[in-house]
């Protein structure tokens, strides 16, 4: 077995040193009825690298990759180009095969990238502090809701109709378990401002998303003002972090907590994970924040260095009083994010965001020109919702036959909400002019 260095002679010699006859002795505490005499039944034995790779390639080849042709799926995960350098960096042994930097003297590499990541995320969002990342945007959103209840000592959260329904459901799961009331506003393409009308003295926070799941951009400043007037917090959510290259930031909108998905920078689509949840807040709420934080300090020689800090919020110290049960961050995805962001810089990010926005404008124009198509989003970044006279299922299936993956049917996200004919489509820098043209032509044929 290629991964196991012990030889039969080694094993015998080690048993002798230990004074045991066989490894069976080490399992002496296992109840007799639960001891397996041989390998677990109904499972194959070991295979060589060639055989395993062959099997995995066979499975992979059954999937249609985003790069295989015109591709316009968004709704919380986005197809972007990742510079080759990023993957090279995250495959460095010293990053890939290390763990949580519990011993900072031999983990300054990981810790410094964490500190740089926190700084980048804070600057992108215009917020005061960022943590070292969460599992993904949806769990970051759920944790934000629970945190807002801790901060305000109130017990109700209100979620907008444009919040990604996976985020809303994830938040509902965590809130219900914690005894928090959840108010979900009706799904709406352009309804984020409705949050302002749902604030009373029980509401801990309102959660709005921009761009929302339909692609609509909203300045949430008025919602923030209404929330603050009512003693509640504004939580803002984004699923497309590239939008922050052009969009008004959560900080500029007065967000108290801003969370989102960082996948678009550095992390491949990967069928939904692992991704990297971004979590930021005002510094006055720092002690209520979930997740890992890295801070600057000095070593015994007075040299600058970094350590994990403020761990008195965390489960290993506070146990059942911790701010969250989270015990990791999304380490390697965080590294991919920060490396890609470093390659971009402000200049590259603004440029990238502009290309995305222009692609979406072209898509809206091309599809909007098709007879029967009505574009529903009026302010958007790189994603739009549109309606056709036909059921979205039928339209997308017909497009798929022409090898165009045209987007997500809104009813997959919101069943029974009257969105049967609505499609949500994203265009990033990866969507070429000919992809967009092919989409419009195919759509015209389908309709």
């Amino acid at each position: 077995m290629r991964y196991l260095p012990l030889t039969a002679d080694d094993r015998a010699a080690m048993l002798k040193t230990i004074g045991a006859k066989s490894v069976d002795e080490f399992y002496g505490d296992v109840p007799a009825s639960a001891r397996l005499k041989g390998p677990v039944p109904d499972l194959p034995n070991f295979q060589g690298e060639l055989e395993v790779e062959r099997h995995m390639v066979k499975l992979a080849n059954k999937n249609r990759a985003a790069s295989d042709g015109p591709f316009f799926v968004g709704c919380g995960a986005y197809k972007h180009h990742i510079p080759a350098t990023v993957d090279h960096i995250i495959q460095r042994s010293e990053f890939l095969t290390t763990y949580t930097p519990y011993q900072p003297e031999i983990a300054q590499g990981t810790l410094q990238t964490m500190f740089e990541f926190q700084t980048q995320v804070a600057a992108l969002t215009g917020m005061e502090v960022a943590n070292a990342s969460m599992y993904d945007g949806s769990t970051a959103c759920a944790e934000a809701a629970v945190m807002a209840c801790r901060v305000t000592k109130r017990n109700t959260v209100v979620m907008s109709g444009g919040l990604h329904p996976h985020y809303a459901e994830t938040t509902r799961t965590l809130c219900e378990a914690a005894g928090i009331n959840v108010i979900q506003l009706a799904p709406a393409v352009d309804g984020e401002l409705e949050l302002s009308n749902n604030i009373d003295d029980k509401v801990a926070c309102v959660i709005g998303q921009t761009p929302n799941v339909f692609g609509t951009l909203t300045d949430l400043t008025p919602v923030g003002n209404a929330a603050h007037d009512g003693g509640a917090l504004l939580v803002t959510v984004f699923t497309e972090v590239v939008s922050l290259g052009l969009m008004k930031t959560p900080g500029e909108m007065g967000a108290d907590i801003a969370v989102g998905e960082g996948q678009s920078i550095g992390v491949p689509l990967g069928f939904g994970g692992p991704y990297v949840g971004l979590f930021t807040c005002k510094s006055k709420f720092l002690r209520q924040m979930p997740g890992r934080l890295c801070g600057e300090t000095v070593d015994a020689d007075g040299k600058r260095g970094f350590v994990l800090t403020l761990s008195t919020r965390e489960q290993h110290i506070r146990r059942d009083k911790a701010t969250s049960n989270i015990c990791t961050n999304s380490g390697l995805c965080m590294l991919a994010f920060t490396a890609h962001m470093t390659l971009l810089g402000d200049k590259g990010l603004t440029h990238l965001a502009t290309l995305n926005h222009e692609a979406a404008c072209d898509l809206a124009d091309a599809l909007g020109a098709v007879k029967g198509v009505k574009v529903l989003t009026s302010r958007y970044f790189n994603e739009i919702a549109f309606e056709t006279p036909k059921h979205a299922d039928e339209v997308l299936a017909a497009l798929e036959k022409q090898d165009i993956i045209g987007g997500v049917r809104a009813s997959r996200l919101f069943p029974d909400a009257g969105f049967d004919n609505v499609i949500i489509a994203a265009a990033t820098e990866c969507a070429t002019a000919s992809d967009i043209k092919a989409y419009a032509q195919a759509l015209a044929k389908v309709l």
Partner: protein
């Protein structure tokens, strides 16, 4: 001194070879000094070349960014150098033995990295039509099948994104089952051993449960008498969270009796599967009477730890808890595999735990690992991991203080007993190991052992590596007993000296700013 024909010395002079050297650059030979990107980059620079924008009038509806990010960029050569220099300040499994107990730092096979990057896995979108991702769904099902067979459990929730998230899945399933029984309000008490990992009580509390701690017996296992006493009044019992093998590296020999007691009390048995790597292929937790258990794919099945994540925590469930499994999950139909994504189709499900379908990138790696080992190889994995740990225990027993009598499972636990009256503490032993070229063991965990040192060598270490490590640790132990003061200031040879953690917490500086650090105390 010998010279070659050009006058270049070909042997070294021994006079000043050990002199301490300070350098103008701050670098030390191969170890390069490296600033923050905010100090070495600039906003005008970028490492990407993108197509020229057309100049379309924007349709952002006025929701535009006021202030630029101010974030610096680096060109590609500068960026590569930045991260490579930083990487060299990290210890890693690929460098040497990484005996961090309860973390299972084993070799990460590179085949797994290769297959995870196949475009058919890495470049597929979670929301693209299900007809176009049948291979991805098949892979998830195949891994699920292995996990169920290895544990002898009838169901598995694949979406949890880490071990602690898996714990949450299990406890939410228990909560949902209690509610379905009409006992959700009544049964709120969860028993948790004091030796448990902090995530256990934190998770239970997140689900609205009240934690009741059970004592540890002198042999490092659950104190069965204390457990029984806590069950005398049992109408409020929701369940127990028990790690097995436990955090002391020991198998809970009364586990079946504990399962029976909990079930008789009307509660459920959550088993923390963090240490499944010690028993995989030799013991199936389903044969022990458990109701739920998460499996850390990054531990038992060697997906890379990546500097602290991402993990993956599929959670196996018993017949009793299976109906409450989170969405989405996969159904096999006559037309192929299909995702059940909504509560309306799975009314008993406790709901959704995250966007999309779990840690696919970890599933591909874990399946490659599992197929490579097979049922026979996985059994050998557990046996070698346990053998290696017992070897370390046997070799260090003469110079250190084993926390408990007898054999261990996959990790060897020592107390700081041998350091009594030396002035040397567990942390000093750990830092001494750094100078010897090793990552330290887990220190001060589990909490039930004073000054705990938890050593998990894993099965991917050779006997020669183990001997080298034991020699190094034994020498440090001997130096400690002789009160060697240099241990108090170790490490001396690492990229950094001991760091001031108190200062970091007292005046938190969590992001770079152009101004010098403020030192005022935070609220």
């Amino acid at each position: 001194m010998t010279m070659n024909s050009t006058g270049r010395p070909t042997s070294f002079s021994s006079s000043d070879s050990s002199a301490a050297t300070t350098t103008v650059s701050g670098s030390k030979g191969l170890l390069q000094a490296e600033g923050l990107i905010f100090e070495i980059g600039s906003t005008g620079k970028t490492g990407v070349d993108l197509a020229k924008p057309k100049g379309t009038k924007n349709r952002l509806g006025g929701v535009t960014r006021g202030k630029p990010t101010g974030l610096p960029g680096l060109t590609e050569p500068e960026a590569v150098r930045h991260y490579v220099r930083l990487s060299q300040k990290n210890y890693a499994i690929d460098l040497g033995l990484f005996p961090l107990g309860s973390c299972t730092m084993k070799h990460n096979p590179r085949l797994n990295e290769k297959v995870a990057r196949l475009p058919g896995f890495a470049d597929v979108h979670p929301m693209q039509p299900q007809s176009t991702v049948q291979g991805a769904l098949e892979l998830i099902n195949e891994l699920a099948d292995w996990l169920m067979k290895l544990t002898n459990m009838p169901a598995v929730a694949m979406t949890p994104k880490a071990g602690a998230h898996g714990e949450l899945a299990g406890m939410l399933a228990i909560r949902a089952a209690l509610i379905a029984r009409g006992e959700g309000e009544k049964r709120k008490r969860v028993l948790v051993p004091i030796s448990a990992h902090g995530t256990n009580p934190a998770t239970a509390a997140q689900c609205g449960f009240i934690i009741d701690e059970i004592n540890a017996a002198a042999d490092g296992r659950v104190d069965l008498e204390d457990l029984k006493a806590k069950l005398v009044e049992s109408s409020d019992i929701a369940g127990i969270m028990l790690t097995n093998p436990n955090t002391c590296g020991l198998f809970e020999r009364d586990i079946k009796e504990i399962a029976d007691l909990i079930h008789k009390a009307g509660g459920y048995f959550y088993c923390d599967g963090a240490n499944f790597n010690a028993i995989v292929g030799r013991v199936r937790p389903g044969d022990l009477g458990i109701d739920a258990m998460h499996i850390n794919l990054h531990k038992t099945f060697s997906t890379p730890h990546g500097g602290g994540g991402p993990g993956s925590g599929p959670t196996v469930l018993s017949e009793a808890l299976a109906p409450f499994t989170p969405v989405p999950f996969i159904l096999r139909t006559s037309e192929g595999l299909r995702l059940v994504e909504h509560h309306s189709e799975a009314p008993d499900s406790f709901g959704r735990m995250c966007a999309f379908h779990g840690q696919m990138g970890m599933f591909t790696r874990a399946l490659a690992y599992i197929l490579s080992h097979g049922a026979d190889g996985l059994r050998q994995v557990a046996e070698d991991a346990v053998l290696n740990a017992n070897y370390v225990l046997a070799r260090l027993k003469p110079v250190m203080s084993p926390a408990f009598e007898g054999y261990c499972m996959h990790e060897a636990l020592f107390s700081d007993g041998f350091l009594k009256d030396t002035g040397i503490e567990t942390i000093d032993i750990a830092k001494g190991l750094i100078d010897e070229g090793y990552h330290p063991m887990t220190m001060y965990f589990p909490l039930v052992v004073h000054g705990a040192m938890l050593i998990e060598p894993t099965e991917t270490e050779s006997k020669a590596e183990l001997d080298r490590f034991c020699d190094a640790l034994a020498s440090i132990a001997r130096r400690a007993v002789q009160k060697d003061p240099s241990l108090k200031t170790a490490p001396h040879l690492a990229p950094a000296r001991r760091l001031d953690e108190t200062r970091a917490a007292r005046s938190p500086r969590l992001r770079w700013t152009p101004e010098p650090p403020t030192l005022k105390a935070a609220e």
